[in-house]
């Protein structure tokens, strides 16, 4: 997975103990930070899920109690459902838009760079700011509800509707993310050998056939990469929900990370919050495996 660790090129000097010591000093600051704030917490974060740690209380080992509570907690199931539906809608949609925009801006033409920059702008924009603007966009009588009304679709405020709130959040999410996938796919498209396409063209393949049998197979690894990242990020959706709906109406947009945040930092039940984190971890692993077996199988 990672290039070999040995430095390239022949070494002139054998490493002395002193040199190894100096090298360790260079690694030390980062290593300390890593152990205290990443490695330790990662292990502790899993272990905490098996305790009843709460701020200002005694801590005891409770085994699977938190997970039993999770399974019996309707809020957990609804948060899981919200998160999975959000992911199932936003990842494919975002990838389709990414791929479309990558194909459209693939060949350099006057202004192609400008379009790419525009499409990437939402990616560097905070979801809190986006959330504030989109709250106005989706408000009753606002641009979205007017446009929908004109098309004969539901014209109420989508954020206030327990069914339409997820599609609305999905749209914001796609707006904020597709530029990232677009750039990854564009980079990969540059590497598709021109001869392949020329050959297909000479054989009289239609544009669709060229895309389906030449371009798409070449893009598989990149699509897999984007799918994994997009899924991971979708599972962790929080910022824009916090700003736009607060998890409402009536928990219709209450995601897993929202549950983790509330349990841990509103009710200070950090053990239970960690159990939610472990559930998220397990979901991430399962989905990565599934995607590796399906999308990534030809790697």
């Amino acid at each position: 997975m990672v290039a070999h660790l040995a430095p390239r090129g022949r070494r002139l000097l054998r490493p002395s103990r002193r040199e190894a010591g100096t090298a360790l000093l260079f690694v030390l600051p980062f290593l300390l930070l890593f152990v205290v704030f990443r490695f330790g917490p990662a292990i502790a974060g899993v272990l905490l899920g098996f305790t009843d740690y709460a701020i200002g209380g005694d801590t005891g080992w409770v085994g699977l109690e938190n997970f039993r509570r999770l399974v019996d907690d309707p809020t957990f199931w609804s948060a899981l459902q919200v998160t999975v539906i959000f992911t199932a809608l936003s990842v494919p949609l975002s990838m389709v838009v990414s791929l479309g925009m990558a194909l459209l801006t693939r060949r350099a033409f006057r202004g192609s760079k400008v379009f790419r920059s525009i499409f990437f702008l939402p990616v560097v924009t905070s979801l809190v700011l986006a959330g504030v603007v989109f709250t106005w966009v989706f408000a009753e009588g606002g641009p979205w509800s007017r446009a929908m009304g004109a098309l004969g679709l539901p014209a109420q405020s989508w954020l206030a509707d327990s069914v339409l709130v997820i599609p609305a959040l999905v749209l914001v999410s796609v707006w904020s993310r597709f530029g990232y996938g677009m750039l990854i796919l564009l980079a990969r498209l540059q590497d598709v050998p021109a001869e392949l396409e020329e050959a297909a063209l000479t054989d009289g393949a239609t544009a669709w056939q060229r895309f389906r049998y030449v371009t798409l197979p070449q893009l598989r690894p990149a699509l897999f990469f984007v799918a994994v990242i997009e899924t991971t990020i979708s599972f962790q959706v929080f910022d824009m929900i916090y700003v736009m709906t607060g998890g409402g109406p009536v928990r219709a947009s209450y995601s897993l990370v929202y549950l983790l945040y509330d349990q841990g930092f509103k009710y200070f039940d950090l053990g239970y919050a960690s159990a939610v984190g472990v559930a998220l971890f397990v979901m991430t692993i399962i989905v990565a495996l599934i995607q590796r077996l399906t999308l990534g199988r030809e790697q």
């Binding site: 997975m1 260079f26 479309g100 459209l104 801006t105 809190v128 962790q236 950090l270 692993i285």
Partner: protein, 293 residues
């Protein structure tokens, strides 16, 4: 902070040979232009709305009149920039972002140099543990990290917000990858001349890795400037909010829309400027190593 996967550490591919331009059909060209223009308008609309609505006087404005740039008023900005708390949040955001950028670049480049060019005991084990930790979702580590910080009385302090974010393994990978591609002879020569290791790092390594410092610096800046969940739980008091957590709290207090958006514009301008200046680094960073923006 967004958690990131590292793309397989492959060296950037050499630029592909120029393609022979194909004669594209007229219909395709027109269709492409139409689609791209629609896409660009949809993408830019929220930004336009943000700016226009932030220059409205207080009071209700109904759509579609609200999208016209009049009546024009800067009162929302006067109130926002005049508010002591907002100025304080701006300062907090600057401190959080800038100090983190400097810290991440310093520690990651030092570690990256050692990993790329040195041999030392435990190197492999460290490397694989860095890699393994990238698989663990951020939210799992966030809770114990918060406990550590609160035990050390770091809640509502700058250091408590900043220090945990400096443990950025992805930055070390990028540095290691970049420094590994530099020829050994550069360092050997200096060492034979009797330069100390620190001297080699400061006067040879740092100047040579400017491109990766710029790339990573911009990304770390963007991550921190836009970060939300971590500042939300560590910066709990009114005085320790950042622009993102501050604006979110204003929204929950039902502050007028023109003020919310004026605050948003103020928070967005530095990002926009950073993006314009460092666009090349941003796009190359995404394209070659898949850093998440």
């Amino acid at each position: 902070m967004t958690d990131v996967l590292v793309r397989q550490a492959t060296a950037p591919a050499p630029p592909s040979p120029a393609r022979r331009p194909r004669r594209a059909g007229r219909a395709w060209l027109v269709g492409r232009t139409v689609l791209l223009v629609i896409g660009a308008l949809v993408t830019l609309f929220p930004f336009y709305a943000m700016v226009v609505l932030s220059f409205k006087p207080a009071g209700p404005v109904t759509f579609p009149d609200s999208l016209l740039p009049w009546p024009f008023s800067t009162e929302a900005y006067d109130q926002v920039i005049g508010a002591k708390s907002v100025l304080r949040w701006m300062w907090n955001t600057v401190v959080y972002s800038v100090v983190s950028v400097v810290g991440v670049l310093l520690f990651a480049s030092m570690a990256g140099y050692a990993f790329a060019k040195k041999r030392f005991p435990g190197k492999e084990a460290m490397f694989w543990s860095f890699l393994a930790m990238l698989m663990v979702p951020y939210h799992v580590t966030m809770i114990p990290t918060f406990i550590v910080i609160s035990q050390l009385n770091g809640v509502d302090t700058y250091w408590g917000m900043i220090v945990p974010t400096l443990a950025n393994a992805q930055a070390v990978f990028l540095m290691r990858q970049f420094i590994a591609s530099l020829p050994d002879s550069l360092f050997e020569a200096a060492r034979l001349d009797g330069c100390s290791e620190w001297r080699v790092y400061v006067s040879i390594v740092l100047p040579l890795i400017k491109p990766i410092l710029a790339t990573l610096g911009i990304f770390v800046f963007l991550w921190h400037w836009n970060d939300f969940l971590w500042p939300l739980i560590v910066g709990q008091s009114l005085d320790m909010r950042t622009l993102t957590t501050g604006i979110a709290s204003l929204q929950q207090e039902n502050v007028a829309l023109n003020m919310l958006l004026a605050g948003s514009v103020v928070a967005f301008v530095p990002i926009f400027v950073a993006y314009l200046i460092g666009q090349r680094y941003v796009t190359e960073g995404v394209a070659t190593s898949g850093i998440k923006g």
